[in-house]
């Protein structure tokens, strides 16, 4: 009896041991995660990890090819927030529900939900977030005698501020499209998805999109934006030369502004919630294990390591990846004041946003709807197409394309 028991025990440990044996696994991702992994892999000696990095678009195209053909993907893959919705419902990834269960509560709700499929299983695990804020020039606001609270009370007061800025030859923002996108993304009615209602009917002709389009149109028509595409030389120059008084974006823009886009404007900036106390997010990334992986256990070990509190903090320090792990927000680092933002303790704001963003149910057709609505917006802003026409047109095409 005792022998049997001991034997059983030894066997069990042996079984456990074998899964804990060192394996060779590969991490497929995009920059800056190469820097993050290089920095933290020293502390991960369970397995040998190889990295395969590609630029953002190339990485996702390669991953799609691998999923399509069932071969060639890494054991752990990094997935951008923009793709996660269309990936997780298609059955190409290992179900991580059990493994993730002990950690789940420590992560931002909305991001956990984004990694959950329609049948409630967890296929992707959030690793970083992009809390959405408005960056604003403090000096302009002071010069014009405005108070932040007055400006951000509502979307209309925000635009009124833009009108005042215009009188002083300062633009409210680089591109009005960001305003519309923010509005329709972060004012989702409860029970609805971003572009589709619970029954899968498109919502794009509804009031949320109407209003978003009107806001952007007002800004464009009254000359409050520069109509400059984001991430272009001109856009960077706009920040450097102080042409824009505000910019809506993710927490990660801070590092770019500070390091190379407009280092000379240090001390003039501040961050705030989006108008009308709206909580929003820009970007974020997820980790997942393709079913084709030969070493899913070892792959999970790596994910577990990467989402641990310490490594999440390390990611924030190394590559400004805002932690998805909300327990990290107690770290003293979050209370530090930031000189670039004139001493504001902005990380506390970012953390507050991350914890308060409402989860939105993803829909298979989100990708299609997004690009069609964006095209519609472009037509309204640049070609003077009437809002109703553009949206009705987009709706018709969405209905055709989403099958």
């Amino acid at each position: 009896m005792t022998l049997k028991k001991t034997l059983g025990f030894t066997l069990a440990t042996a079984g456990l041991m074998s899964s804990a044996l060192a394996a060779d696994i590969r991490f497929d991702g995009f920059p800056d995660y190469d820097s993050q992994l290089e920095a933290i892999l020293g502390g991960f000696d369970q397995h040998d990890v190889d990295m395969l990095m590609n630029e953002h678009g190339g990485h996702h195209d390669k991953l799609k090819t691998n999923l399509a053909t069932g071969s060639g993907a890494g054991d752990v893959v990094l997935i951008d927030r923009g793709f996660v919705g269309s990936f997780i419902n298609q059955g190409g990834f290992v179900d991580l529900t059990e493994e993730y269960a002990p950690y789940k509560d420590g992560f931002a709700d909305y991001a956990v939900a984004q990694g959950t499929s329609a049948d409630g299983r967890q296929y992707a695990v959030p690793v970083d977030l992009g809390p959405g804020v408005v960056y604003y020039r403090r000096d302009y606001m002071e010069d014009m005698g405005y108070d932040l609270d007055d400006v951000m009370t509502s979307w209309d007061s925000y635009i009124d501020y833009g009108r005042e800025l215009k009188k002083h030859d300062v633009l409210l923002m680089g591109n009005a499209m960001a305003l519309a996108t923010a509005y329709w993304n972060f004012n989702v009615e409860s029970g609805n998805g971003l572009y589709f209602d619970a029954n899968g009917e498109p919502l794009v002709t509804g009031p949320r999109f109407q209003r978003a389009f009107e806001l952007a149109k007002t800004v464009r028509e009254e000359g409050m934006d520069a109509n400059i595409a984001e991430w272009t030389e001109e856009w960077y120059a706009g920040f450097r030369e102080g042409r824009f008084a505000t910019q809506m974006s993710g927490a990660w823009l801070l590092g770019h502004l500070k390091n190379w886009m407009a280092p000379d404007t240090a001390g003039n900036w501040g961050v705030s919630n989006l108008p009308d106390n709206t909580y929003g997010t820009w970007g974020g990334s997820f980790l997942a294990i393709p079913k084709q992986s030969d070493n899913p256990e070892a792959a999970w070990d790596l994910i577990e390591y990467m989402i641990s509190e310490d490594m999440q903090l390390a990611g924030f320090q190394n590559i400004a990846a805002f932690p998805a792990h909300t327990d990290t927000y107690d770290d003293p680092m979050f209370g530090e004041s930031i000189d670039f933002l004139r001493g504001q303790k902005a990380r506390l704001l970012f953390a507050d946003i991350a914890e308060n963003v409402e989860p939105v149910e993803p829909h298979e057709g989100d990708q299609i709807a997004e690009s069609l609505v964006t095209t519609a917006l472009e037509q309204v802003l640049n070609d003077g197409v009437d809002i109703d026409t553009a949206l009705a047109n987009a709706e018709r095409q969405i209905k055709r394309r989403v099958r």
């Binding site: 920059p31 630029e55 195209d61 399509a68 053909t69």
Partner: protein, 282 residues
Amino acid sequence: MTRLTAHINLRLIGRAILWAALLTGVFMTVFPFFWSLLMATHDRTTMFSSGLNLSLGDQLIANYARLLDTMDFWVGMLNSFSVSIIGTIASLLFCSMCGYALAVYQFRGRNVLFGMMICSMMLPPILTLIPYYMVIDAIGLTNTHLAVWLPFSINPFGIFLIRQYVVASVPRDLLEAAKLDGASAFRTYWSVVLPLLRPGLATLAIVQFVFLWNNFLQPLVVLTSSEKMVITQMLRSVQGIPNTPWGALMLGTFISILPLVGIYMAASRQMISGLTSGAVKN
């Protein structure tokens, strides 16, 4: 007398205009090339500091160090070299054989094959990527250089070019004479036709080399280990909005173009070797 000077003046003015036009063209084509060299001497902050930065920066050495730090640059260059050179030689051989056959022989299925070739140029590579990968995977060529050059060694473009070149430059009498001398078909092709095709082959070599060197899509899905990666892959893999080392990237890009320029200059001598400068001038 005055009419003559007027005539000479006109000619001079004509020449001046001609050269002004030619050199404006040169400026427009060379400028981006040199600009990327200039950018290679800057880092990200100074690179984007004004609209068109034409000053010489002091970051060249630092950028080179950063380049070697972020990727196995010379491994990538070497891989690109081996893929492009082997691939180019193979395609010179294959394309000249096929192009020659299409131009000279009348055989059953010729038009079908030629049509297929032209048609296969019309299929967009962005859509054939998945089946391409399936084939490569099925025959076990993933992560090999063979997968990156072999399928392109029968470039329809090259076959078509050689076909046209044979039509234009290989005299029929010569082929018949070779035949009467008892030369076999392959001997004729090898020792009579190929030497005549030299300029055409040089053109094909340039085009094929540039294509293989710049190709990105297929290496992206096929080559997965860093010791196999080609340079385009490496240079692209560090790009992204966050913290792209632009200066290092521009330097790497500039260096990676140099072999192409070198190959072009070497081949262009062959290309116009058929021209004897004396006969065509004036």
